[in-house]
C-alpha cells in the first residue's frame, strides 16, 4: 500500500527547500525562489567539491512529478542516513567536529560566492562516522557587502555550548535540549567562569556579542549597515575557527569510562564467552542496524561495526561517548554513531508540536538491540520493574541480546550494599516470564563461570 506523502515535521520553517516523505522515501523539494541558489551550487562546482570532501549529503535529482506542491523547481533525493542524531546527543568532540565542518563548508562556499544562510547544529548529523551537512538548501548566493546572516546561530549553536562544556562543565551540553535555537549568549556569558575573560575569541564572540544583542534589542530604528568587506568576512570565519580549535576535551570525573578496566567482575573465560556469544548471535540475526544500550565506550558495539553494521552506541556518560567517538575515528570505523542519552530519561520529541526533533523511540526500533550488563542498573539502581524494562527493550530492538545479572553477582551486591533489598521479584525466572510476554526466547546461554546469563530475544 502506498502512504500519503507527508511534509517532514522537522523542516516546515524553510519553504525554499523542505523535506517530505513519499512511500517511505525522503525527498527535498526545492522551490522556484531558491532556483538561482541551487543552480549556483551545482554549476559552480561547489556541490562536487563538498561531496568529494564528504562534507555535504549527496543527492540525486528525481522526476519533478514527485513534488509535494506546485511550487517545485526541482525534487532531490538525498542519500539516506540510517540514524539521525541530534546535537544535544553528541559528546564534546562530536560537537566540535560539527562546528569545524560548518566553518569548512562556509569557507568553501565563499570561494564560489556562496554562503551558509543558516548555521544551526541541526543541519549537521553523523554519517559514516563523520559529521555531514544535511541541508542542501542552506547554501545560497552571497550578497556582496553583507555580514554573515548565520553568525548569531553559529555562536549560539556551537561556540556557546563548546565554551560551557570546556570551561564550566561538560554536562552543560545538555542545555541544547532546552534551547533548540542555541544557547542564548547572555546566559552563556553569565555561566562562563571569569577566567575566560582572557580568551580573546570568547570575549568577542560571546561576551561582546551578547552585549551588542542587548544594546540593540530595543533598537527599532533602521540601522544603516556598513558594507562588510570580503576580508572582514574571511577574518570572521578565521576567528571563529581559531576560537573553536582553541577549545579541547574537557576534563572531569567519569564513573563509567574505566568500567572495563576493572577486571573484578569478569574472568577471562567469561569475558571471552560473552564476546563469542554476542558475535555469533549478531551474525545469526543479520541486522542492518544495531543499538547498543548502555554501550559504555562501545566495546561490544565494535563487534557489530567490524561486520560493517551501522551501530548506535547509547550511553548517559558524555565522557564514555567522547571516548567511543575518538576511538572510532582513530580506527577509521565508519559504522559507529555514539550518542549521549539516558535510558531512564531518553531524548524526547522536541520543538513545534514536539515533532520537530524525534524522540529516541521514534527513531527505532533497531533490527537488533544489545542490553549487556544494563538490566540490573535499571531494575535495582533505578527501581524500574522488569516488565517495564522489557517494554523498553521491545521499543529499542526487534531482536535483543540481553545479559541478565543475578542478585548474587558482586556488581548487584554492590548496588544493594547501601539500600534495602525491595527487589524480591528480581530473578531469572521473573525476567524470562516478562520477556515471553513480548518476545520469543530464542537462545539462552550461561556466560561461563560468571553466574550471568545471555539471552537472545526475538519478535514473535
Amino acid at each position: 500500500m502506498q502512504d500519503e506523502p507527508q511534509a517532514s515535521p522537522a523542516s516546515f520553517r524553510d519553504p525554499r527547500g523542505f523535506v517530505f516523505t513519499r512511500d517511505g522515501i525522503l525527498y527535498r523539494q526545492i522551490s522556484h525562489g531558491h532556483a538561482p541558489d541551487y543552480d549556483r551550487l551545482i554549476s559552480s562546482g561547489l556541490y562536487q567539491e563538498l561531496i568529494d570532501a564528504g562534507s555535504l549529503i549527496a543527492h540525486q535529482e528525481v522526476a519533478s512529478e514527485l513534488a509535494l506542491s506546485s511550487d517545485a523547481y526541482k525534487v532531490i533525493r538525498p542519500e539516506r542516513v540510517p540514524f539521525v542524531s541530534y546535537p544535544y546527543e553528541w559528546g564534546f568532540a562530536q560537537l566540535r567536529d560539527a562546528a569545524l565542518l560548518t566553518l569548512a563548508v562556509q569557507s568553501a562556499a565563499m570561494t564560489r560566492d556562496m554562503t551558509l544562510r543558516d548555521a544551526t547544529a541541526f543541519n549537521v548529523t553523523f554519517h559514516h562516522g563523520r559529521p555531514v551537512m544535511l541541508d542542501t538548501t542552506s547554501l545560497g548566493i552571497l550578497e556582496e557587502g553583507q555580514p554573515w546572516v548565520a553568525y548569531r546561530q553559529f555562536c549560539q549553536h556551537f561556540v556557546a555550548p563548546l565554551a560551557l562544556m570546556t570551561y564550566r562543565d561538560v554536562r552543560l551540553g545538555q542545555l541544547g535540549r532546552v534551547y533548540l535555537d542555541g544557547i542564548p549568549l547572555d546566559l552563556t556569558r553569565d555561566l562562563l567562569p571569569s577566567r575566560t575573560r582572557t580568551k580573546a575569541g570568547l570575549t568577542m564572540h560571546v561576551r561582546m556579542h551578547a552585549g551588542s544583542q542587548e544594546r540593540h534589542e530595543d533598537d527599532a530604528r533602521q540601522t544603516e549597515r556598513k558594507a562588510f568587506s570580503r576580508r572582514s568576512f574571511d577574518g570572521l570565519i578565521d576567528s571563529l575557527r581559531r576560537t573553536v580549535e582553541s577549545m579541547s576535551e574537557p576534563k572531569g570525573k567519569s564513573t563509567w569510562r574505566r568500567y572495563y578496566d576493572e577486571t573484578d567482575h569478569y574472568s577471562d573465560a567469561a569475558s571471552a564467552k560473552k564476546e563469542e556469544l554476542v558475535e555469533r548471535w549478531i551474525a545469526e540475526t543479520d541486522p542492518s542496524i544495531v543499538w547498543d544500550l548502555g554501550a559504555n565506550t562501545g566495546r561490544f558495539s565494535r563487534i557489530a561495526t567490524a561486520k560493517g553494521i551501522d551501530t548506535v552506541a547509547i550511553d548517559s556518560d558524555p565522557f564514555c561517548i567522547d571516548q567511543a567517538y575518538e576511538d572510532a575515528r582513530r580506527a577509521g570505523d565508519e559504522h559507529l554513531t555514539p550518542i549521549v542519552s539516558d535510558l531512564t530519561n531518553p531524548s524526547p520529541g522536541l520543538g513545534w508540536e514536539n515533532r520537530e526533533r524525534s524522540s529516541l523511540d521514534e527513531r527505532g526500533p533497531a533490527d537488533l538491540a544489545l542490553a549487556l550488563a544494563v538490566i540490573h542498573h535499571l531494575a535495582i539502581a533505578n527501581n524500574v520493574p522488569l516488565p517495564l524494562i522489557v517494554d523498553q527493550l521491545a521499543r529499542s530492538g526487534r531482536a535483543v541480546i540481553v545479559e541478565f545479572v543475578p542478585k548474587t553477582d558482586p556488581k548487584v551486591q554492590r548496588l544493594l550494599r547501601d539500600r534495602e533489598d525491595i527487589f524480591g521479584d528480581y530473578s531469572e525466572a521473573a525476567f524470562e516470564e516478562s520477556a515471553e510476554e513480548r518476545f520469543a526466547i530464542s537462545r539462552r546461554e550461561a556466560v561461563a563461570d560468571s553466574g550471568r546469563t545471555l539471552y537472545l530475544l526475538e519478535a514473535r
Partner: protein, 72 residues
C-alpha cells in the same frame, strides 16, 4: 478613604507599567549580531592582513623556502 486607597493603588500600577521593559517582538533578534559584525569587521580584516603579512615575513627568513604557487 477606601476610594483614596483605590486611587493610590491605581496610580502605583500605572506608574509601574511605565517602567516595564518594552517587549520588542517585532525586532529581528539578529540585528544586534549584524551591527556587531560591522563593528568588529575592520579589526578582523586587519587581523587577516597581518597574518598574511607575517606568513610572508616568516617565508623570507625560512631557509627551506620553496616557491609556493601564490608567491608569484
Amino acid at each position: 478613604m477606601r476610594a483614596r486607597a483605590f486611587t493610590i493603588a491605581l496610580l502605583v500600577v500605572a506608574f509601574t507599567c511605565l517602567f516595564l521593559p518594552v517587549a520588542n517582538a517585532y525586532v529581528d533578534p539578529g540585528s544586534g549580531s549584524f551591527i556587531f559584525q560591522a563593528l568588529i569587521g575592520g579589526l578582523l580584516a586587519v587581523a587577516v592582513a597581518f597574518r598574511v603579512f607575517w606568513r610572508r615575513v616568516l617565508g623570507v627568513f625560512s631557509k627551506t623556502r620553496r616557491e609556493s604557487p601564490d608567491s608569484s
